[in-house]
Symmetry: C2
Protein backbone atom coordinates (compact mmCIF):
# COMPACT_ATOMS: atom_id res chain seq x y z
CA UNK A 1 0.00 0.00 0.00
CA UNK A 2 1.24 3.44 -0.92
CA UNK A 3 2.29 5.70 1.92
CA UNK A 4 1.59 8.83 -0.11
CA UNK A 5 -0.13 11.32 2.20
CA UNK A 6 -2.53 12.63 -0.45
CA UNK A 7 -5.03 11.47 -3.05
CA UNK A 8 -5.52 13.77 -6.02
CA UNK A 9 -8.74 13.34 -7.98
CA UNK A 10 -8.94 14.76 -11.46
CA UNK A 11 -10.04 13.65 -14.94
CA UNK A 12 -7.46 11.13 -16.16
CA UNK A 13 -7.24 12.12 -19.84
CA UNK A 14 -6.50 15.85 -19.64
CA UNK A 15 -4.08 18.18 -17.87
CA UNK A 16 -6.84 20.68 -17.12
CA UNK A 17 -6.93 22.44 -13.79
CA UNK A 18 -5.45 19.39 -12.07
CA UNK A 19 -2.12 20.08 -13.74
CA UNK A 20 -1.61 23.26 -11.71
CA UNK A 21 -1.68 21.07 -8.60
CA UNK A 22 0.55 18.33 -10.07
CA UNK A 23 3.14 20.86 -11.21
CA UNK A 24 3.32 22.33 -7.73
CA UNK A 25 3.76 18.97 -6.03
CA UNK A 26 6.64 17.95 -8.32
CA UNK A 27 9.26 20.49 -7.09
CA UNK A 28 7.76 20.46 -3.59
CA UNK A 29 8.48 16.74 -3.43
CA UNK A 30 4.97 16.03 -2.16
CA UNK A 31 3.93 12.47 -2.84
CA UNK A 32 0.37 11.66 -3.91
CA UNK A 33 -1.73 9.04 -5.60
CA UNK A 34 -3.36 10.23 -8.81
CA UNK A 35 -6.54 8.25 -8.25
CA UNK A 36 -8.45 8.54 -11.50
CA UNK A 37 -5.26 7.85 -13.44
CA UNK A 38 -4.58 4.74 -11.35
CA UNK A 39 -8.22 3.73 -11.81
CA UNK A 40 -10.35 5.52 -14.41
CA UNK A 41 -12.76 8.38 -15.01
CA UNK A 42 -15.67 6.28 -13.76
CA UNK A 43 -13.97 5.95 -10.37
CA UNK A 44 -13.84 9.75 -10.16
CA UNK A 45 -17.53 10.04 -11.04
CA UNK A 46 -18.35 7.47 -8.35
CA UNK A 47 -16.20 9.18 -5.75
CA UNK A 48 -18.00 12.47 -6.46
CA UNK A 49 -21.40 10.76 -6.18
CA UNK A 50 -20.49 9.04 -2.93
CA UNK A 51 -19.44 12.36 -1.43
CA UNK A 52 -22.74 13.87 -2.48
CA UNK A 53 -24.73 11.02 -0.96
CA UNK A 54 -22.76 11.13 2.28
CA UNK A 55 -24.16 14.63 2.74
CA UNK A 56 -21.03 16.34 4.10
CA UNK A 57 -19.26 19.23 2.47
CA UNK A 58 -18.21 18.17 -1.02
CA UNK A 59 -16.30 19.69 -3.94
CA UNK A 60 -18.22 21.31 -6.78
CA UNK A 61 -15.81 19.82 -9.32
CA UNK A 62 -12.38 18.23 -9.64
CA UNK A 63 -9.54 18.77 -8.97
CA UNK A 64 -9.77 17.95 -5.29
CA UNK A 65 -7.13 16.75 -2.90
CA UNK A 66 -7.74 14.38 0.00
CA UNK A 67 -5.46 14.20 3.01
CA UNK A 68 -5.57 10.46 3.49
CA UNK A 69 -4.94 10.40 7.24
CA UNK A 70 -7.76 12.76 8.12
CA UNK A 71 -10.02 12.52 5.07
CA UNK A 72 -9.94 16.31 4.86
CA UNK A 73 -10.78 17.29 1.29
CA UNK A 74 -10.10 20.56 -0.49
CA UNK A 75 -11.03 21.77 -3.98
CA UNK A 76 -10.45 24.72 -6.30
CA UNK A 77 -6.92 24.74 -7.73
CA UNK A 78 -5.88 28.10 -6.24
CA UNK A 79 -7.23 27.06 -2.85
CA UNK A 80 -5.44 23.70 -2.94
CA UNK A 81 -2.16 25.44 -3.80
CA UNK A 82 -2.53 27.96 -1.00
CA UNK A 83 -3.39 25.24 1.49
CA UNK A 84 -0.45 23.01 0.45
CA UNK A 85 1.89 26.00 0.68
CA UNK A 86 0.80 26.64 4.23
CA UNK A 87 0.72 22.96 5.22
CA UNK A 88 4.22 22.24 3.94
CA UNK A 89 5.72 25.52 5.10
CA UNK A 90 6.56 26.54 1.53
CA UNK A 91 5.61 30.21 1.90
CA UNK A 92 8.05 33.08 1.89
CA UNK A 93 7.69 33.76 5.61
CA UNK A 94 6.47 37.23 4.66
CA UNK A 95 2.70 37.55 5.13
CA UNK A 96 2.30 40.42 2.66
CA UNK A 97 4.25 38.59 -0.06
CA UNK A 98 2.30 35.37 0.51
CA UNK A 99 -0.96 37.34 0.15
CA UNK A 100 0.29 38.90 -3.08
CA UNK A 101 1.11 35.42 -4.38
CA UNK A 102 -2.44 34.24 -3.66
CA UNK A 103 -3.76 37.32 -5.44
CA UNK A 104 -1.59 36.53 -8.47
CA UNK A 105 -2.80 32.93 -8.39
CA UNK A 106 -6.43 34.11 -8.54
CA UNK A 107 -5.57 36.28 -11.53
CA UNK A 108 -4.00 33.23 -13.19
CA UNK A 109 -7.29 31.42 -12.45
CA UNK A 110 -9.08 34.20 -14.35
CA UNK A 111 -6.93 33.99 -17.47
CA UNK A 112 -7.18 30.18 -17.48
CA UNK A 113 -10.99 30.48 -17.53
CA UNK A 114 -10.66 32.90 -20.45
CA UNK A 115 -8.46 30.41 -22.30
CA UNK A 116 -11.25 27.86 -22.02
CA UNK A 117 -13.67 30.51 -23.28
CA UNK A 118 -11.68 30.90 -26.51
CA UNK A 119 -12.87 27.49 -27.76
CA UNK A 120 -16.11 27.30 -25.75
CA UNK A 121 -17.43 30.86 -25.66
CA UNK A 122 -21.12 29.93 -25.58
CA UNK A 123 -21.31 26.80 -23.43
CA UNK A 124 -19.09 23.99 -22.15
CA UNK A 125 -21.92 21.61 -23.00
CA UNK A 126 -21.91 22.44 -26.72
CA UNK A 127 -19.39 21.00 -29.17
CA UNK A 128 -16.61 23.23 -30.43
CA UNK A 129 -17.95 22.75 -33.95
CA UNK A 130 -21.25 24.28 -32.89
CA UNK A 131 -19.60 27.46 -31.64
CA UNK A 132 -16.71 27.82 -34.07
CA UNK A 133 -17.65 31.26 -35.35
CA UNK A 134 -18.04 32.74 -31.90
CA UNK A 135 -14.80 30.98 -30.92
CA UNK A 136 -12.93 32.64 -33.78
CA UNK A 137 -13.92 36.06 -32.48
CA UNK A 138 -13.30 35.13 -28.87
CA UNK A 139 -9.84 33.80 -29.73
CA UNK A 140 -8.97 36.92 -31.73
CA UNK A 141 -9.86 39.19 -28.80
CA UNK A 142 -8.01 36.89 -26.41
CA UNK A 143 -4.85 36.83 -28.55
CA UNK A 144 -4.79 40.53 -29.34
CA UNK A 145 -6.12 42.13 -26.17
CA UNK A 146 -6.21 39.73 -23.25
CA UNK A 147 -2.83 37.99 -23.50
CA UNK A 148 -0.96 41.33 -23.68
CA UNK A 149 -3.04 42.79 -20.83
CA UNK A 150 -2.48 39.83 -18.49
CA UNK A 151 1.12 39.25 -19.52
CA UNK A 152 2.08 42.92 -19.08
CA UNK A 153 0.56 42.75 -15.64
CA UNK A 154 2.36 39.53 -14.68
CA UNK A 155 5.62 40.85 -16.16
CA UNK A 156 5.39 43.92 -13.92
CA UNK A 157 4.52 41.75 -10.92
CA UNK A 158 7.68 39.71 -11.52
CA UNK A 159 9.67 42.94 -11.50
CA UNK A 160 8.81 43.65 -7.85
CA UNK A 161 11.41 41.22 -6.45
CA UNK A 162 14.81 40.56 -8.08
CA UNK A 163 15.24 36.93 -9.06
CA UNK A 164 13.62 34.55 -11.47
CA UNK A 165 10.52 33.87 -9.35
CA UNK A 166 7.49 35.97 -8.44
CA UNK A 167 8.72 36.25 -4.84
CA UNK A 168 12.37 36.63 -5.87
CA UNK A 169 14.75 33.76 -5.20
CA UNK A 170 12.20 31.31 -3.81
CA UNK A 171 9.74 29.53 -6.09
CA UNK A 172 6.02 29.37 -5.32
CA UNK A 173 2.72 28.12 -6.73
CA UNK A 174 2.62 31.25 -8.89
CA UNK A 175 5.76 30.21 -10.74
CA UNK A 176 4.69 26.65 -11.42
CA UNK A 177 1.35 28.04 -12.62
CA UNK A 178 3.02 30.61 -14.87
CA UNK A 179 5.08 27.74 -16.30
CA UNK A 180 1.89 25.87 -17.14
CA UNK A 181 0.22 28.99 -18.53
CA UNK A 182 3.17 29.70 -20.86
CA UNK A 183 3.43 26.06 -21.93
CA UNK A 184 -0.31 25.88 -22.54
CA UNK A 185 -0.44 29.09 -24.55
CA UNK A 186 2.57 27.98 -26.60
CA UNK A 187 0.67 24.81 -27.42
CA UNK A 188 -2.65 26.53 -28.17
CA UNK A 189 -1.42 29.70 -29.88
CA UNK A 190 2.10 28.99 -31.19
CA UNK A 191 2.09 31.79 -33.77
CA UNK A 192 0.89 34.38 -31.32
CA UNK A 193 3.31 33.31 -28.61
CA UNK A 194 6.27 33.31 -31.00
CA UNK A 195 5.37 36.87 -31.94
CA UNK A 196 5.13 38.28 -28.40
CA UNK A 197 7.31 36.21 -26.07
CA UNK A 198 10.22 38.63 -26.49
CA UNK A 199 8.15 41.30 -24.75
CA UNK A 200 7.83 39.26 -21.55
CA UNK A 201 11.34 38.22 -20.61
CA UNK A 202 10.71 37.96 -16.87
CA UNK A 203 7.87 35.51 -17.49
CA UNK A 204 9.97 33.44 -19.88
CA UNK A 205 12.83 33.42 -17.33
CA UNK A 206 10.41 32.22 -14.68
CA UNK A 207 9.18 29.49 -17.01
CA UNK A 208 12.78 28.34 -17.60
CA UNK A 209 13.69 28.53 -13.92
CA UNK A 210 10.70 26.30 -13.06
CA UNK A 211 11.78 23.79 -15.72
CA UNK A 212 15.13 23.60 -13.91
CA UNK A 213 13.71 23.01 -10.42
CA UNK A 214 14.46 19.60 -8.94
CA UNK A 215 11.62 17.23 -9.63
CA UNK A 216 10.14 19.15 -12.54
CA UNK A 217 12.19 17.75 -15.45
CA UNK A 218 11.68 14.17 -14.27
CA UNK A 219 7.96 14.84 -13.89
CA UNK A 220 7.68 16.39 -17.36
CA UNK A 221 9.60 13.49 -18.90
CA UNK A 222 7.47 10.89 -17.17
CA UNK A 223 4.18 9.32 -18.19
CA UNK A 224 2.59 11.24 -15.34
CA UNK A 225 2.66 14.35 -17.56
CA UNK A 226 -0.35 13.94 -19.84
CA UNK A 227 0.32 15.52 -23.26
CA UNK A 228 -1.71 18.58 -24.21
CA UNK A 229 -4.74 17.59 -26.27
CA UNK A 230 -7.98 18.93 -27.70
CA UNK A 231 -10.10 17.86 -24.72
CA UNK A 232 -8.33 20.08 -22.22
CA UNK A 233 -8.22 23.80 -21.47
CA UNK A 234 -5.32 24.62 -23.81
CA UNK A 235 -6.35 23.36 -27.26
CA UNK A 236 -4.61 23.88 -30.54
CA UNK A 237 -7.08 24.69 -33.28
CA UNK A 238 -5.14 26.22 -36.13
CA UNK A 239 -8.01 28.51 -37.07
CA UNK A 240 -7.92 30.10 -33.60
CA UNK A 241 -4.24 31.05 -33.77
CA UNK A 242 -2.62 33.98 -35.56
CA UNK A 243 0.12 36.53 -34.99
CA UNK B 1 -11.12 63.80 7.68
CA UNK B 2 -12.74 60.38 7.75
CA UNK B 3 -11.37 57.92 10.27
CA UNK B 4 -12.53 54.94 8.19
CA UNK B 5 -9.73 52.37 8.25
CA UNK B 6 -10.15 51.32 4.60
CA UNK B 7 -10.41 52.75 1.12
CA UNK B 8 -12.36 50.68 -1.38
CA UNK B 9 -11.67 51.35 -5.05
CA UNK B 10 -14.19 50.19 -7.61
CA UNK B 11 -16.02 51.56 -10.65
CA UNK B 12 -18.57 54.08 -9.35
CA UNK B 13 -21.50 53.35 -11.68
CA UNK B 14 -21.95 49.59 -11.26
CA UNK B 15 -22.31 47.07 -8.44
CA UNK B 16 -20.00 44.61 -10.18
CA UNK B 17 -17.49 42.62 -8.17
CA UNK B 18 -17.11 45.50 -5.72
CA UNK B 19 -20.59 44.82 -4.40
CA UNK B 20 -19.52 41.50 -2.89
CA UNK B 21 -17.09 43.46 -0.73
CA UNK B 22 -19.57 46.22 0.15
CA UNK B 23 -22.22 43.69 1.15
CA UNK B 24 -19.79 41.99 3.50
CA UNK B 25 -18.71 45.20 5.18
CA UNK B 26 -22.31 46.28 5.89
CA UNK B 27 -23.20 43.58 8.49
CA UNK B 28 -19.58 43.41 9.67
CA UNK B 29 -19.82 47.09 10.59
CA UNK B 30 -16.53 47.83 8.85
CA UNK B 31 -16.23 51.46 7.87
CA UNK B 32 -14.64 52.44 4.56
CA UNK B 33 -14.41 55.25 2.06
CA UNK B 34 -15.76 54.34 -1.37
CA UNK B 35 -13.18 56.37 -3.22
CA UNK B 36 -14.34 56.36 -6.83
CA UNK B 37 -17.89 57.11 -5.70
CA UNK B 38 -16.69 60.04 -3.57
CA UNK B 39 -14.57 61.19 -6.51
CA UNK B 40 -15.16 59.64 -9.97
CA UNK B 41 -14.09 56.90 -12.36
CA UNK B 42 -11.17 59.00 -13.56
CA UNK B 43 -9.76 59.04 -10.02
CA UNK B 44 -9.80 55.24 -10.05
CA UNK B 45 -8.02 55.11 -13.40
CA UNK B 46 -5.40 57.53 -12.07
CA UNK B 47 -4.93 55.57 -8.86
CA UNK B 48 -4.35 52.40 -10.90
CA UNK B 49 -1.84 54.20 -13.14
CA UNK B 50 0.03 55.66 -10.19
CA UNK B 51 0.35 52.20 -8.64
CA UNK B 52 1.73 50.88 -11.91
CA UNK B 53 4.27 53.69 -12.20
CA UNK B 54 5.37 53.28 -8.58
CA UNK B 55 6.55 49.79 -9.56
CA UNK B 56 5.40 47.90 -6.45
CA UNK B 57 2.93 45.06 -6.41
CA UNK B 58 -0.35 46.34 -7.87
CA UNK B 59 -3.86 44.97 -8.47
CA UNK B 60 -4.75 43.61 -11.89
CA UNK B 61 -8.18 45.19 -11.68
CA UNK B 62 -10.66 46.70 -9.22
CA UNK B 63 -12.05 46.02 -6.67
CA UNK B 64 -9.13 46.60 -4.37
CA UNK B 65 -9.06 47.53 -0.74
CA UNK B 66 -6.42 49.72 0.89
CA UNK B 67 -5.67 49.62 4.61
CA UNK B 68 -5.13 53.33 5.11
CA UNK B 69 -2.73 53.10 8.06
CA UNK B 70 -0.27 50.77 6.36
CA UNK B 71 -1.04 51.29 2.68
CA UNK B 72 -1.38 47.51 2.32
CA UNK B 73 -3.52 46.81 -0.73
CA UNK B 74 -5.41 43.66 -1.62
CA UNK B 75 -7.44 42.72 -4.71
CA UNK B 76 -9.65 39.91 -6.02
CA UNK B 77 -13.07 39.90 -4.32
CA UNK B 78 -12.76 36.41 -2.79
CA UNK B 79 -9.28 37.25 -1.49
CA UNK B 80 -10.44 40.56 0.01
CA UNK B 81 -13.32 38.79 1.79
CA UNK B 82 -11.05 36.08 3.19
CA UNK B 83 -8.54 38.64 4.37
CA UNK B 84 -11.19 40.85 6.03
CA UNK B 85 -12.69 37.79 7.73
CA UNK B 86 -9.31 36.94 9.22
CA UNK B 87 -8.40 40.53 10.06
CA UNK B 88 -11.66 41.22 11.89
CA UNK B 89 -11.89 37.82 13.54
CA UNK B 90 -15.14 37.03 11.74
CA UNK B 91 -14.36 33.38 11.02
CA UNK B 92 -16.07 30.44 12.65
CA UNK B 93 -13.08 29.52 14.78
CA UNK B 94 -13.08 26.15 13.00
CA UNK B 95 -10.25 25.93 10.46
CA UNK B 96 -11.92 23.26 8.33
CA UNK B 97 -15.18 25.20 8.11
CA UNK B 98 -13.37 28.43 7.26
CA UNK B 99 -11.53 26.60 4.46
CA UNK B 100 -14.82 25.24 3.14
CA UNK B 101 -16.23 28.76 3.14
CA UNK B 102 -13.30 30.01 1.05
CA UNK B 103 -13.84 27.10 -1.35
CA UNK B 104 -17.53 28.03 -1.67
CA UNK B 105 -16.55 31.65 -2.26
CA UNK B 106 -14.29 30.61 -5.15
CA UNK B 107 -17.16 28.63 -6.64
CA UNK B 108 -19.35 31.74 -6.36
CA UNK B 109 -16.55 33.59 -8.20
CA UNK B 110 -16.87 31.02 -10.98
CA UNK B 111 -20.61 31.37 -11.43
CA UNK B 112 -20.35 35.17 -11.36
CA UNK B 113 -17.85 35.00 -14.25
CA UNK B 114 -20.33 32.78 -16.11
CA UNK B 115 -23.10 35.32 -15.52
CA UNK B 116 -20.94 37.93 -17.24
CA UNK B 117 -20.38 35.46 -20.06
CA UNK B 118 -24.13 35.25 -20.74
CA UNK B 119 -24.14 38.76 -22.22
CA UNK B 120 -20.49 38.92 -23.30
CA UNK B 121 -19.66 35.40 -24.47
CA UNK B 122 -17.12 36.42 -27.10
CA UNK B 123 -15.30 39.40 -25.62
CA UNK B 124 -15.71 42.04 -22.91
CA UNK B 125 -14.39 44.56 -25.41
CA UNK B 126 -17.20 44.00 -27.92
CA UNK B 127 -20.66 45.53 -27.56
CA UNK B 128 -23.52 43.31 -26.48
CA UNK B 129 -25.25 44.08 -29.79
CA UNK B 130 -22.29 42.58 -31.64
CA UNK B 131 -22.56 39.26 -29.80
CA UNK B 132 -26.32 38.99 -29.27
CA UNK B 133 -26.75 35.68 -31.06
CA UNK B 134 -23.96 33.98 -29.17
CA UNK B 135 -25.33 35.56 -25.98
CA UNK B 136 -28.76 34.04 -26.61
CA UNK B 137 -27.24 30.57 -26.73
CA UNK B 138 -24.91 31.22 -23.81
CA UNK B 139 -27.82 32.50 -21.70
CA UNK B 140 -29.98 29.51 -22.60
CA UNK B 141 -27.28 27.07 -21.47
CA UNK B 142 -26.67 29.13 -18.36
CA UNK B 143 -30.36 29.25 -17.41
CA UNK B 144 -31.10 25.61 -18.16
CA UNK B 145 -27.90 23.83 -17.13
CA UNK B 146 -25.58 26.03 -15.13
CA UNK B 147 -27.96 27.68 -12.64
CA UNK B 148 -29.44 24.29 -11.59
CA UNK B 149 -25.98 22.71 -11.34
CA UNK B 150 -24.51 25.48 -9.20
CA UNK B 151 -27.67 26.01 -7.15
CA UNK B 152 -28.08 22.29 -6.39
CA UNK B 153 -24.50 22.26 -5.24
CA UNK B 154 -24.88 25.35 -3.05
CA UNK B 155 -28.19 24.04 -1.67
CA UNK B 156 -26.47 20.82 -0.57
CA UNK B 157 -23.57 22.81 0.91
CA UNK B 158 -26.07 24.78 3.01
CA UNK B 159 -27.45 21.50 4.28
CA UNK B 160 -24.19 20.56 6.01
CA UNK B 161 -24.79 22.80 9.04
CA UNK B 162 -28.24 23.47 10.53
CA UNK B 163 -29.16 27.15 10.47
CA UNK B 164 -29.80 29.74 7.85
CA UNK B 165 -26.16 30.37 6.98
CA UNK B 166 -23.52 28.30 5.17
CA UNK B 167 -21.65 27.74 8.45
CA UNK B 168 -24.86 27.31 10.47
CA UNK B 169 -25.83 30.06 12.90
CA UNK B 170 -23.04 32.48 12.07
CA UNK B 171 -23.05 34.49 8.85
CA UNK B 172 -20.00 34.71 6.61
CA UNK B 173 -18.82 36.15 3.31
CA UNK B 174 -20.47 33.19 1.58
CA UNK B 175 -23.91 34.27 2.77
CA UNK B 176 -23.59 37.90 1.77
CA UNK B 177 -22.31 36.71 -1.62
CA UNK B 178 -25.19 34.24 -2.04
CA UNK B 179 -27.54 37.14 -1.25
CA UNK B 180 -25.98 39.16 -4.06
CA UNK B 181 -26.01 36.21 -6.44
CA UNK B 182 -29.72 35.56 -5.83
CA UNK B 183 -30.58 39.26 -6.10
CA UNK B 184 -28.55 39.60 -9.26
CA UNK B 185 -30.06 36.56 -10.93
CA UNK B 186 -33.57 37.71 -9.95
CA UNK B 187 -32.80 40.98 -11.69
CA UNK B 188 -31.22 39.42 -14.78
CA UNK B 189 -33.40 36.34 -15.22
CA UNK B 190 -36.71 37.02 -13.41
CA UNK B 191 -38.72 34.42 -15.32
CA UNK B 192 -36.16 31.71 -14.79
CA UNK B 193 -35.69 32.49 -11.11
CA UNK B 194 -39.46 32.58 -10.48
CA UNK B 195 -39.68 29.11 -12.02
CA UNK B 196 -36.92 27.48 -9.95
CA UNK B 197 -36.56 29.31 -6.64
CA UNK B 198 -38.86 26.82 -4.92
CA UNK B 199 -36.28 24.10 -5.49
CA UNK B 200 -33.64 25.93 -3.48
CA UNK B 201 -35.23 26.80 -0.17
CA UNK B 202 -32.00 26.80 1.85
CA UNK B 203 -30.51 29.38 -0.50
CA UNK B 204 -33.62 31.54 -0.36
CA UNK B 205 -33.62 31.30 3.45
CA UNK B 206 -29.99 32.38 3.49
CA UNK B 207 -30.84 35.31 1.23
CA UNK B 208 -33.63 36.39 3.60
CA UNK B 209 -31.48 35.91 6.69
CA UNK B 210 -28.81 38.16 5.20
CA UNK B 211 -31.43 40.82 4.40
CA UNK B 212 -32.29 40.79 8.12
CA UNK B 213 -28.73 41.16 9.41
CA UNK B 214 -28.02 44.43 11.19
CA UNK B 215 -26.56 46.95 8.80
CA UNK B 216 -27.82 45.27 5.63
CA UNK B 217 -31.31 46.82 5.34
CA UNK B 218 -29.97 50.31 5.99
CA UNK B 219 -27.24 49.73 3.40
CA UNK B 220 -29.70 48.46 0.79
CA UNK B 221 -32.03 51.42 1.41
CA UNK B 222 -29.24 53.93 1.13
CA UNK B 223 -27.78 55.67 -1.88
CA UNK B 224 -24.66 53.60 -1.32
CA UNK B 225 -26.46 50.66 -2.96
CA UNK B 226 -26.14 51.32 -6.69
CA UNK B 227 -29.19 49.98 -8.56
CA UNK B 228 -28.64 47.04 -10.92
CA UNK B 229 -28.15 48.28 -14.47
CA UNK B 230 -27.08 47.15 -17.93
CA UNK B 231 -23.42 48.07 -17.46
CA UNK B 232 -22.80 45.61 -14.63
CA UNK B 233 -22.43 41.86 -14.31
CA UNK B 234 -26.12 41.10 -13.77
CA UNK B 235 -27.97 42.63 -16.73
CA UNK B 236 -31.60 42.29 -17.64
CA UNK B 237 -32.03 41.75 -21.35
CA UNK B 238 -35.50 40.37 -21.89
CA UNK B 239 -34.33 38.23 -24.82
CA UNK B 240 -31.87 36.40 -22.57
CA UNK B 241 -34.48 35.36 -20.00
CA UNK B 242 -36.96 32.51 -20.18
CA UNK B 243 -38.43 29.84 -17.95
Amino acid sequence: MSSAPYDLWYWPSIQGRGEFVRLFMAPAGIDYRDRARDLDAQALVEDMEEREERGGFAPYAPPYLVERDSGFTIAQAAHILTWLTDRHDLGTGEMETDLHLIQLQLTITDIVAEVHGTHHPMASSLYYDDQKEAAAQAAKAFREERIPKYFSYFERAYGVHPGPFAAGGKWSHVDTSIFQLVEGLRYAFPQRMAAIEGDYLALMDARDAVANLGGVASYLDSERRIPFNEDGIFRHYEELDGQ
